[in-house]
Structures are given as structure tokens and as C-alpha cells.
Amino acid sequence: MRKREYLGQLELMVLLAVIRPANDAYGVLISREIAGSSGREVALASVYAALERLENKGLVTATLGEPTALRGGRARTYFKPTAAGLKEARDAHETLLRLSSGLSSWQGESA
């Protein structure tokens, strides 16, 4: 049986951000999604490093777009989740839901 590799927190956030917009997930949009949802800004280099790891694990695919003047003549790279990526995200979501069920019993208590 193949040993299962768990995703790191940033990898999971990036994967979920790639899944969120329907077709056009690229660096800027992904980092905005993460900043908007988590309230903390992530460096674009960290996002790209995480995307590269996800690509190597076969969880996302990359496609090069057309260069645009808005970007100084540079192209965007668009990312899409693969079937394995969607399954991994669902599995991680279910695991987190199950594990976080204990949180409700701690409501109202300060740390």
C-alpha cells in the first residue's frame, strides 16, 4: 500500500483556494483568496512554492496563459485541481470536521 502523504496547512489552503474560483486561479487570485479567508497575507513566493509541491503530488495542473500589458508583457499561469486534488481536499475537509467536533465542548471557556 502506498504511504499517504498529508498536506501541510499552507498546501491545503492553496489547494482550497485553487478549487474556489471556477476556472481562473492564478498566483494573485490565490493569495487574495487566502488573505481574505484567513486574514493573513502570504508571500507570493510561498504560494508558488506550495503550488509546485501540489503539482509534484499530482493534485493540481498548470497552464500558461497569454502575456498581457498589465503584467509588463508576462504571461499568467493558471492552476486547476485534478481529480486526485479534489479527493484530497474532500478527505482533508472531512478529517478536519471530525477532529474539530470536540471544539464545541470548549465553547465559552477561555484559554
Binding site: 494573485v28 507570493l44 513566493a45 510561498s46 508558488y48 509546485e52 498581457t68 509588463g72 508576462r74
Partner: protein, 164 residues
């Protein structure tokens, strides 16, 4: 609409370090956000993160065994050469046979010969392809010790000669 040009040095650094992150896409993303009103400090912060992450990735991919082998060979070669030079220098500064038999001279000579021997042996063994990183690391340590001991002994001997 006129373009805001990002800091030149930061762009130059980004071109060199950021190319591994999906080619030009990262550069384009940063340029796009800079056009949308991000500050120079933000741009510099992002470029610093690129350099940091690219550097860490480079360190992880370095062939450490090979690097340690090459480094230890160079250090050991330098140590052996330095020891031979120091012996020749010490002999040149010695004026009489009696001085050659003094404990100070003999002690210096012994250390220098030992340094030269360790240097030559490490240099010879480091030339072989080592498969284990631990052996390469050990040789690197020996190379550093030999070079330091050689330099210190030479400096000490030169000082002693000048005092005489």
C-alpha cells in the same frame, strides 16, 4: 495609463532568483500588484521572500556529499602546502644547528610535519568518491583542523623568530 516601474534592483534580483517559480508568472504577478498600487516596501518584501525561499530550496538540493568532498580536498591541499611552506620558512630563519635542536624548533617542526601528513592523506582520500555523507563531513573537519593548525603554528613560529 502610465506604468509604475518597480524598484530596479529588486526587479533585477527577482529576475535572477524568481525564474524557478513558474518562469515569468511570479514576476508578472508582482508587477500586476505593483500597478494596482502596492508600495515599494511591499515589493521589496515580496522579493526578499523569493530570495529566501529560492535559497532554501537550493540548499536542500545541493549534493552535500560531493560538496563536502571537494571542499575537504581543497582545504587539505591548502593545509599541506601551507605546512611545507612553513617548514621551509622556519628552516630559512634558523641560523645554527644548535637552534635546530631546541625544543621549540622541534615542537614546531613536529606539528608542521603532522599537519602536512594529515593534509596530504585527507587530500588523497578526498579525491575518492565517498558514498557516505558522514565520511565526507569528517574529512571536511580534518581539512579545517589541519589548515587552522598549520596557519597557527606558522604564525607562532614567525612571531618567535622575530622576537629572537
Amino acid at each position: 495609463m502610465s506604468e509604475r516601474m518597480p524598484p530596479k534592483l529588486a526587479s533585477w534580483l527577482l529576475e535572477r532568483c524568481g525564474s524557478s517559480f513558474h518562469g515569468e508568472s511570479l514576476e508578472g504577478d508582482l508587477f500586476e500588484q505593483y500597478q494596482e498600487g502596492r508600495s515599494r516596501a511591499w515589493y521589496w518584501g515580496q522579493v526578499t521572500a523569493v530570495i529566501w525561499i529560492a535559497g532554501a530550496r537550493l540548499l536542500r538540493t545541493l549534493p552535500w556529499t560531493g560538496t563536502a568532498r571537494v571542499l575537504s580536498r581543497e582545504l587539505a591541499g591548502a593545509a599541506a602546502g601551507l605546512a611545507v611552506l612553513a617548514i621551509a620558512d622556519r628552516a630559512r630563519r634558523t641560523h645554527s644547528f644548535a637552534e635546530m635542536l631546541s625544543p621549540n624548533f622541534l615542537c614546531t617542526l613536529t606539528v608542521l610535519i603532522a599537519v602536512a601528513a594529515v593534509g596530504v592523506l585527507t587530500w588523497k582520500f578526498a579525491a575518492r568518491r565517498q558514498r557516505r555523507a558522514a565520511i565526507s563531513a569528517l574529512m571536511l573537519v580534518f581539512g579545517v583542523i589541519a589548515l587552522s593548525a598549520g596557519a597557527l603554528t606558522w604564525a607562532n613560529a614567525a612571531c618567535a623568530c622575530q622576537l629572537h
